[in-house]
């Protein structure tokens, strides 16, 4: 059994070496992509006074930035498919930097929408997708750990940016702060320079030197296999069919919509994202509503961030263990359901201690989910098609991500109480969690069946190859295989 089939990437990923430098680069890129829009809220009050606008008008800056970041997903995927990760990340870093510098000279609120929102958002999208994609090219065996470590960038950068932004605002006002932030975000280019494309030639050669082994191939495969092998082998045929479509598939892989695992992931995620961000957004206001003072409410967010920071690499590590890795989809389903349960139990917390406990558990839940979010997608579609997959997923998730917090806010306004919003968010997360459990159970069963068929086919072709090569050894090969 040629080991190349085990990965189907065409080469063996290094799983280390320069890969760890890639993880550092991805850490920075992902960190800025997620944390930057959230950290800008510190400037809103000053900008609101300066331009004499209402709070909702200024909050649009964050929304436009987030929307652009998600909507630019497919564009980013196309560019990564064509040019690789490194140039896209560097261009992205330059774009965000330019956006912030231009915004620091802005004279109307619409300048901020365009510079920070649109240009900045696109730049961040050009950071997020390539960072995720390149991890898939460098890691196979240790991929969940690498993903977990890279996703830790988000809470760490947020934790650093929040007090830094406050300091910048006090020293330089909002204009100077935007200028300096433009410089800070340029460090994404440093991250991009680290993202050296993997040397496929060198890794391919080592495979060719090994003689193809047919005996015991099935046993070897079980050690490092994940769902991509089966799904990729199957969908290769689909791909050959759709290659006749030609042009579109070269840029972005639309045939993903026929991929069973991808569809499960997409449907579950779209529902889940309605209730994903709202609890974070409303944690501090809810605490204040329950009578907690402002500093303690802000401290809750810090506790949440610390729990989040701690659990992400841990989740990556756990996801990498030999018990979890083959069935990592169940681990993800557990994480989603755990989030839902957390929110459903939240209204039981009344005083500060209860809220602290909730913040810790929610931090764990949020981190677990975030660390696995892209790892499971890689697991389902494989590193080849991951770039297109993540582009399509982000643009479709754009809707729930943007609608989630305002809808939750509307729920709070209608009922005048936060608990109904938390119940709703809990349901929005628990239902997809259970959906994932059920669907992946069936999916794994189908994949195991298909794998059984492939093994049989491979064994037959292997036998035929061996027959052609060495006629006298024919009978011996037959005996050992059975």
């Amino acid at each position: 059994m040629p080991p190349a089939a085990a990965t189907n990437l065409g080469y063996t990923p290094p799983d280390g070496g320069w890969g760890w430098a890639i993880v550092v680069g991805a850490f920075i890129s992902i960190g800025f992509s997620y944390a930057f829009p959230k950290s800008l809220t510190i400037y809103f009050k000053d900008i609101q006074e300066y331009f004499a606008v209402s709070y909702s008008e200024i909050a649009w800056v964050s929304s436009v930035m987030l929307a652009s970041m998600y909507a630019a997903g497919p564009v980013s995927s196309i560019l990564v498919n064509r040019y690789g990760s490194r140039p896209v990340v560097m261009v992205g870093g330059v774009m965000v930097s330019t956006g912030m510098v231009l915004a620091s000279f802005g004279t109307a609120i619409i300048h901020l929408y365009l510079c920070i929102g649109v240009i900045g958002g696109f730049g961040l999208a050009f950071n997020l997708q390539p960072a995720l994609t390149i991890i898939g090219t460098y890691f196979q065996v240790k991929r969940p750990l690498a993903n977990g470590l890279a996703m830790t960038g988000s809470p760490v950068v947020l934790f650093t940016l929040a007090p830094l932004n406050q300091f910048l605002l006090d020293s330089f006002g909002w204009r100077g702060s935007f200028l300096i932030l433009g410089g800070i975000v340029l460090n994404c280019c440093v991250a991009g320079s680290l993202m050296r494309p993997v040397n496929k030639k060198a890794l391919k050669k080592t495979e060719k030197t090994e003689p193809p082994e047919c005996n015991g191939g099935a046993a070897e495969e079980a050690a490092t296999v994940d769902t991509i092998t089966q799904s990729d082998n199957l969908t290769e045929e689909n791909q050959k069919e759709s290659k006749s479509q030609g042009c579109v598939n070269r840029f972005i892989d639309i045939s993903l919509f026929k991929h069973r695992g991808f569809l499960i992931y997409l449907i579950g995620n779209v529902v889940m994202f309605f209730g994903f961000f709202a609890p974070v957004v409303f944690l501090a206001p809810c605490a204040k509503h329950k009578g907690i003072d402002e500093y303690s409410a802000a401290f809750l967010l810090s506790i949440f961030a610390l729990a989040d920071m701690f659990i992400r690499p841990t989740t990556g590590f756990i996801g990498n263990t030999k018990w979890i890795r083959p069935r990592i989809q169940y681990f993800f389903s557990f994480a989603v359901s755990y989030n839902g349960v957390c929110h459903l139990l939240f209204p039981l917390a009344s005083e500060y201690t209860g809220l602290v406990v909730y913040a810790v558990f929610f931090g764990f839940a949020f981190g677990m989910l975030s660390a696995l979010l892209f790892e499971v997608l890689m697991d389902l579609v494989g590193a080849h098609r991951f770039s297109s997959a993540v582009g399509l997923v982000t643009i479709i998730e754009c809707g729930p991500v943007l609608l989630g917090p305002p809808l939750s806010g509307a729920l709070v306004d209608i009922f005048g109480d936060y608990k109904y919003m938390y119940y709703a968010c809990g349901v929005f997360m628990l239902v997809p969690g259970i959906f994932f459990f059920i669907m992946h159970y069936f999916n794994y069963r189908r994949l195991d069946k298909e794998r059984g068929q492939i093994v049989a086919v491979d064994v037959r072709t292997c036998e035929e190859a061996v027959e052609l090569k060495t006629n006298p050894d024919d009978k011996a090969a037959h005996d050992t295989d059975e």
């Binding site: 498919n81 040019y83 006090d170 020293s171 006002g173 460090n187 050296r196 030639k201």
Partner: protein
């Protein structure tokens, strides 16, 4: 005729008595106001002694007859008579010594003060036996929510300073703005310099816009909430800096990024040169590589291409 003379003398006598009464209760160097004292509304504030350093806040907007009542339950051995007097701003008010009798197990001091102008505002204290004291801080509503950090703006830009009176406190009649000039305050008249200053007044909020800032505009600005009795002040600092201030850290960070990127790419190029000398023999078709990986930014791999 004798009766009318008697009436006139009687009225004059009454007038003299009431004048003297005014003089003993409010130690004003200035002559009393023309507003008849009796027509002022009466505001009664009571306080019972709870412990040391007790301060009661009295918020007033308009002139009133303020009656302050202090009660004290006394020591364990309660004497029937003790002395009590009043202080204003730490100074004893003349002729305010009274002998207080023990009634219903407590001592009570009360006094009516005419609060008609700013000088009447201050810290009034009732003192029992020179040891037990309750302070009444009589003032107009203070501006609570005010920015404590400076507003940082740039030369040539415009600065906005806002002041707000909380919803829980009474609305001021109007707002005024002052700029600190040494130890003095100069009032800012927006009408005099409309291009430079703009004052926008809302009932509870006021906004001062300063256009075309120069370095000289830095300093403390005071917003005053004007009430009939007095004006309560709040201050905000405005800092004006040039664009060079944030530009310096910005250039430092850009330089750092540039250095790191060049270092990483050079390191990679030197590594790949080493690998190339080993791999030159074995490398055959490089066409299998996707075209995207070789980009202008990536010097090393493009060099490899050119070699083979």
């Amino acid at each position: 005729m004798l009766a009318s003379w008697k009436q006139l003398i009687f009225q004059i006598l009454l007038l003299l008595i009431s004048c003297r009464h005014i003089n003993t209760t409010s130690p004003d160097p200035t002559p009393p106001p023309l507003v008849p004292i009796d027509s002022l509304p009466r505001d009664v504030r009571r306080a019972a002694f709870k412990g040391e350093g007790q301060i009661e806040k009295v918020e007033l907007l308009n002139p009133v007859n303020l009656e302050l009542v202090c009660t004290w339950t006394g020591h364990q051995n309660k004497e029937s008579n003790i002395t009590g007097f009043w202080r204003k701003d730490g100074l004893e008010i003349e002729n305010s010594h009274l002998t207080v009798q023990l009634e219903n197990e407590q001592y009570q001091l009360q006094q009516v003060f005419n609060i008609v102008s700013e000088e009447n505002l201050g810290n009034y204290s009732c003192v029992f036996e020179s040891e037990v004291k309750i302070d009444f801080v009589v003032a107009v509503p203070q501006i609570g929510e005010i920015r404590d950090k400076p507003v940082v703006t740039y030369v040539g830009d415009s600065g906005v300073i806002t002041c707000k009176m909380e919803d829980s406190k009474p609305m001021p009649n109007t707002w005024k703005w002052y700029k600190a000039n040494g130890t003095d305050k100069e009032e800012i008249f927006a009408a005099a310099e409309p291009q430079r200053y703009e004052i926008k007044n809302n009932e509870r909020k006021t906004k001062l816009l300063v256009n075309n800032l120069t370095m000289a505009d830095s300093g403390l600005y005071y917003c005053g909430a004007v009430y009939t009795l007095s004006t309560s002040m709040g201050h905000v600092e405005l800092k004006v800096i040039t664009y060079y201030e944030p530009l310096k850290p910005f250039m430092a960070i850009v330089a750092e990024v540039f250095i790191l990127v060049t270092a990483i790419l050079l390191f990679e190029r030197s590594r790949s040169k080493k690998n190339d000398t080993e791999g030159d023999m074995m490398s055959d078709q490089t066409n299998t590589l996707s075209p995207g990986e070789n980009n202008g930014l990536e010097g090393s791999s493009s060099m490899r291409q050119r070699k083979t």
